[in-house]
Amino acid sequence: MKGFFFRQAWQNLIQNLWINAFTLATITLSFLIFGLFLLVAVNARELLEEWGSRIRVTAYLSDGVTAEETNRLQDTIRSLQEVQAIIFRSKEDALKSLEGKFPGRTGLLKGLSRNPLPASLEIQLKPAFRDKAGVDRVAGKLKALQGISDLQYGAEWVERFSAFMILLQVLGAGVSGLLLVATILIVANTIRLNIFSRREEIEIMRSVGATGLFIRAPFYLEGIFQGLAGAGLALGILFVLFHLFWAKVYDPLKILLGNFPLHFLAGEQGAGLVLGGLILGFLGTQVSVGRYLKV
């Protein structure tokens, strides 16, 4: 019996080839756009997390702070709830770091009579506080401590990027939602046309004693197939586009972007996309079968 259903569904797809091809193309396009937003959102979130991890407060120590005072300062700062880790950079470390940024020009720095660079404490914050509010809170506490001559911090750029990402996600969700509703309606319309073109056949099947399920099952298979195929095709096209983008755009600019690794959708995300196609295909069919196929 199952073989009969699949054969019928396949015959129906072939019989109304152009209508079904158009539906498939529309579903593919919808899922492609949805997949694109998803891909951007996934990678941007990872980028945001990666940049967020670089948020830190640098506290420059006053000249003359002793090693003991530096240790006490570190202990005090480490005890703050916002602080995850502290890295101490001595004056010599700072000078070496500066020399490293100017290879071939170290002679200029050797001419200095003394090392003007201060020692510093690089304070890394816990993930929950890696935003402007968290940074401002820590900075406020550090300003009150003795031995700190200056503070360097800035989370505005991360905040702006985060806000942009939220906007992008909302926009993506909105557009994708509309596209997915359109997908359901397009599948529903195609199935409705198929039901209409086969109404005499359906009547004959009823006359011979076919149950409602027997008549409806091939239509559901059609809709599910269209949804699956559309989502699958979209995933395939997205994969090709991603690799083209990687080769032609990302790879040449990788260094400027800080060698941030770009990822395609994970296995479960891809599977979720395809499953979504199946569900939408089923829902689209249900809309039409429930309304136009009363058997």
Binding site: M1, G3, Q11, E201, I204, M205, R206, G209, F214
Partner: protein, 261 residues
């Protein structure tokens, strides 16, 4: 109407032997269900037309009965009531043990699967092969592939269409299409076969072959209720007959009462 439906006594009475050498009575023993029981059935359509008016009849198992009458007499309407394509305005119908009058919509497929129906317009699915059309009557029963193959082949052979299984309906002659429709109706070996003008569009010679085909099916035990307007057809194979005129039974070859023991 009491003489038509005498008191049911419970004990099976021996039927009277008629001129054809078999039982002529349409009134079955009450101790088993009848293929067809029509009890005071009327059918009025929405436009006010009365298609059937107080029709009553019973058909015993294994009988071959013609339902005769001119076009518009109500033959097709009566058959449609029997397979629940229409609902009666009044009265009761029982078919193969189903109370058709009270049958729920979802139970109608079960009724139809227990019957063999040859429709006036054949109702062969154009894009399916002859084999596919016939096999469908078994597929709806959920039978396995091998069994479907075997029974469909047998049915096609029985109607003389072996070798034409792969043909599409339009590739067959009118008579062959009729045979294909009959094959679909008998492939599930139904207890009751309803046929609506099965020789309507074919010549007399082909019609005669069709009637002989029905005779063979009947001899295998299937009850046949065949609607036709063609007196010549009934003359090929005289059987019991019920005649409708403007929705009423005007002639009945049956004795009005059960024979006495």
């Amino acid at each position: 109407m009491d003489e038509i439906f005498p008191e049911e006594e419970g004990a099976k009475k021996a039927p009277e032997i008629g001129p054809l050498g078999d039982a002529v009575s349409l009134w079955a023993s009450p101790s088993e269900f009848l293929p067809v029981e029509v009890i005071h059935v009327s059918k009025n359509f929405e436009d006010g037309q009365q298609a059937l008016n107080d029709v009553s009849l019973r058909i015993e198992k294994g009988k071959f009965v013609y339902l005769m009458g001119a076009n518009g007499a109500g033959k097709t309407t009566l058959l449609k009531l029997l397979y629940a394509a229409e609902r009666p305005t009044a009265g009761e119908l029982r078919v193969n043990g189903f109370d058709v009058t009270r049958l729920k919509v979802r139970e109608i497929p079960r009724l139809r699967r227990s019957l063999g129906i040859v429709f006036q317009d054949l109702k062969l699915i154009p894009r399916w092969s002859v084999f596919g059309n016939v096999a469908f009557a078994l597929q709806v029963l959920g039978l396995g592939k091998d069994e479907i193959l075997k029974k469909t082949s047998q049915a096609l052979q029985q109607v003389g269409l072996e070798g034409k299984g792969n043909f599409l309906p339009y590739q067959l002659s009118a008579g062959e299409q009729q045979r294909a429709a009959i094959a679909r109706a008998i492939v599930n070996q139904p207890a009751l076969l309803l046929a609506d003008e099965p020789t309507g569009n074919i010549d007399f010679h082909a019609a005669e072959e069709i009637v002989r085909l029905f005779e063979g099916i009947n001899l295998q035990g299937t009850t046949i209720f065949l609607a036709t307007h063609d007196e010549g057809l009934a003359a090929i194979l005289p059987q019991e007959r019920v005649v409708l005129e403007r929705g009423r039974i005007v002639e009945n070859s049956l004795p009005p009462t059960l024979p006495e023991a």
